[in-house]
């Protein structure tokens, strides 16, 4: 018996998995690696941003950091912590008791990657973390763990990629904890390019101190079953976050995005936009909650979920929620789910685009609202190409 199993037996626990199947998390099919499984022979060509410092984790083994260069002066230190070594902050957000995705990671993680930004640090290159699994990950449980501690006034761009190259099911349960110090500015870009049979149940846990800014842009473009959780505490006055995401689910894929944002103190803002494009018999779940505590006056919190259904068999569940216990706040939430607008289709066709082209262009446009905001130009182009490739295959 473990805490997630116990939690799933409670009404709240069952409710939180109403639309997604937690079975892979509680069963015993997937086992951690018994021994390191680094790549055999030459590495395949991995997608990468040209200007980034890049760390590759292959079946949980960290490969040599060939892009380290001379970053010592940047104020960023990277360390691998063994399981028995603690770091200040580690496990304080992604706790076992929280009834979240963290549980399986807490029990199965091997090393923790600790990224520390000193006060005022501002590395000029993004840090790119690439988590790769291959055929030897078949039926394995892979539990990468990252802790980011951002000192006061520091700023950085972190790119997190997940890539499954193997053909068999693998269970990814990554957890990233981010502690944003006062006035820090962290941009966290996440790309899930999981394999067609891969399972991914991962999450990000964030705490923001006074005046900090945290930006998350998450792209779920593949994977058989994906659940992504975001747990974010605005713990210092004047902190702000932008949470954005785009999900594409085709075939029989199922994606589930869950966000929990807690406004604990006054004067913080949340700007949340999640979009989903559902193709074939793809399914998506969006369950977002913003909770504004009684003391959190002058809160600005906006939550939007939009879903585009490109087939009659696609399904989208949307549960946007605001819980407001303060009285001097500006909050809104909204959710729309629908097919391509007939009016927009007619407009484009009247300009000479055939029906298939018009559908594609409108689908790209729908995705662009999230993709165009990606701060890193190289990654933005790569994402755009990848999304267009998926949408180009949509049957009309």
């Amino acid at each position: 018996m473990n805490s997630l199993t116990q939690w799933l037996e409670t009404p709240t626990g069952r409710e939180s998995w109403k639309y997604s199947d937690p079975a892979p998390l509680t069963g015993d099919r997937f086992a951690p690696f018994a021994a390191p499984a680094p790549p055999a022979g030459d590495l395949p060509l991995l997608p990468a941003c040209a200007d980034s410092r890049r760390l590759v984790f292959w079946n949980e083994t960290c490969l040599a950091d060939e892009t380290a260069g001379d970053d010592r002066s940047s104020g960023m230190t990277i360390a691998a912590l063994t399981k028995d070594r603690a770091a200040p902050g580690l496990g304080t957000l992604a706790t076992d008791e929280s009834g979240t995705i963290a549980d399986l990671n807490n029990r199965n993680r091997q090393e923790t990657l600790h990224i520390h930004l000193e006060d005022g640090a501002a590395p000029d290159r993004p840090l790119e973390l690439v988590f790769v699994t291959d055929d030897r990950s078949s039926d394995r449980l892979v539990a990468p763990r990252v802790l980011i501690t951002a000192g006061g006034g520091s700023r950085a761009v972190i790119i997190e990629r997940h890539l499954d190259l193997g053909r068999d099911p693998v269970l990814n349960v990554p957890v990233v904890e981010v502690l944003c110090g006062p006035g820090s500015d962290i941009t966290h870009l996440k790309w899930l390019g999981n394999g067609p049979d891969a399972l991914h149940y991962g999450g990000t846990f964030v705490r923001q101190d006074e005046g900090s800014r945290y930006v998350s842009r998450e792209f779920v473009l593949a994977g058989h079953r994906v659940r992504r959780e975001m747990h974010l505490h605005l713990a210092g006055p004047g902190a702000s976050c932008i949470l954005a995401g785009l999900t594409l689910a085709s075939g029989l894929r199922h994606t589930d995005v869950r966000t929990r944002v807690y406004h604990d103190v006054p004067g913080c803002t949340t700007d949340e936009l999640y979009k989903g494009i559902l193709i074939d018999r793809g399914q998506s779940v969006f369950d977002g909650l913003i909770r504004v505590a009684p003391d959190a006056q002058q809160t600005g919190a906006y939550q939007t979920n939009r879903n585009l259904l490109l087939s009659d068999d696609a399904v989208s569940y949307s549960i946007p929620r605001l819980e407001i216990y303060a009285d001097d706040v500006k909050c809104s939430h909204g959710s729309t789910t629908g097919q391509l607008s007939a009016e927009e289709m007619f407009y484009l066709r009247s300009r000479g685009f055939d029906e298939m082209m018009a559908r594609r262009l409108l689908s790209y446009a729908f995705a662009s609202e999230v993709v165009d905001q990606v701060e890193h130009p190289g990654l933005r182009e790569e994402l755009t190409a990848s999304i267009q490739q998926i949408l180009d295959k949509v049957p009309s």
């Binding site: 607008s341 007939a342 009016e343 927009e344 007619f346 407009y347 484009l348 066709r349 009247s350 300009r351 000479g352 685009f353 055939d354 029906e355 082209m357 018009a358 262009l361 409108l362 790209y364 446009a365 729908f366 995705a367 662009s368 609202e369 165009d372």
Partner: protein, 258 residues
């Protein structure tokens, strides 16, 4: 160029057009005026091929072809252009990309090479300047957050880029101030030529001071109740639609032009 015979059309089973006959020769500009609800926009939508409008009787021949057999996009590629009364906003689709893709769809259809971003920008520059469009609008999303006048001028820009054979302007003048009106009219007049025809739908005689029509038609209750020269527009401005409708024995709905 275009011959409409006994055209009947319905929306959601409700008859709107009740027998339109209209013939437009190459090089001509025809204006259609009429009260709200008379079917002016329906006629525009039917000509452009909007499938929400059901043609229940009659025929439309365009350059000798049966227009009703053609899909929306095939009509566009055959040279029919509708400047929308309410241009659609598409966030996330950059205006310049939209314009270039539209031009390239036409070029491809004609067997010409597609324009890259650089060549397109050269091709479009003068036309953008002529319509006095802020070049910043090119990098913005299509019509998103454009003012009413900017949307209408963007429609005219599309018209001048696509160089249609038969263009329909559906209340392109509504919401334009006098300066913008003149700019739009100049755009139309530049395109005017012996092989190009226009159907200009408007509420106001004002536009026809700048785009001088060969013929003016008055549409009421789904029928053309009067046709005449450009002086008919002046007479309408003076007397309203009521006297014509009474003569023709149809209701005008009593709505004010808006």
């Amino acid at each position: 160029m275009l011959k409409i015979e006994n055209l009947h059309a319905a929306v959601d089973g409700k008859p709107i057009l009740k027998g339109i006959d209209l013939e437009i020769a190459p090089g001509q500009i025809h204006a259609i005026m009429g009260p709200n609800g008379s079917g002016k926009s329906t006629l525009a939508q039917v000509l452009a091929g909007n499938e929400d409008y059901e043609v229940t009787a009659g025929s439309i021949s365009y350059q000798g072809r049966d227009l009703l057999e053609l899909s929306v996009e095939d009509r566009a590629l055959a040279g029919i252009f509708l400047a929308f009364q309410y241009p659609v906003e598409i966030p996330g689709f950059a205006n310049a990309e939209f314009l270039r893709a539209a031009v390239n769809a036409h070029r491809k259809h004609r067997g010409e090479s597609e324009l890259d971003a650089f060549d397109f920008s050269k091709f479009a520059r003068d036309k953008i300047a002529q319509l006095e469009l802020d070049p910043k609008l090119m990098t913005r999303s299509l019509n998103a957050g454009f003012s009413g006048g900017e949307k209408k001028r963007n429609e005219c820009l599309q018209m001048s880029l696509l160089e249609p054979t038969f263009a329909i302007l559906d209340e392109t003048d509504s919401g334009l101030d006098i300066d913008a009106l003149q700019i739009v009219a100049r755009g139309v007049n530049t395109l005017r030529g012996p092989e190009r025809s226009f159907l200009v739908i408007t509420h106001y005689q004002r536009l026809l001071d700048y785009i001088v029509p060969d013929t003016v038609h008055v549409l009421a209750d789904g029928r053309i109740i009067r046709s005449g020269g450009k002086e008919l527009a002046l007479e309408l401005e003076d007397k309203g639609y009521g006297w014509l409708a009474e003569k023709a024995g149809v209701a005008t709905g009593g709505e004010d032009p808006s």
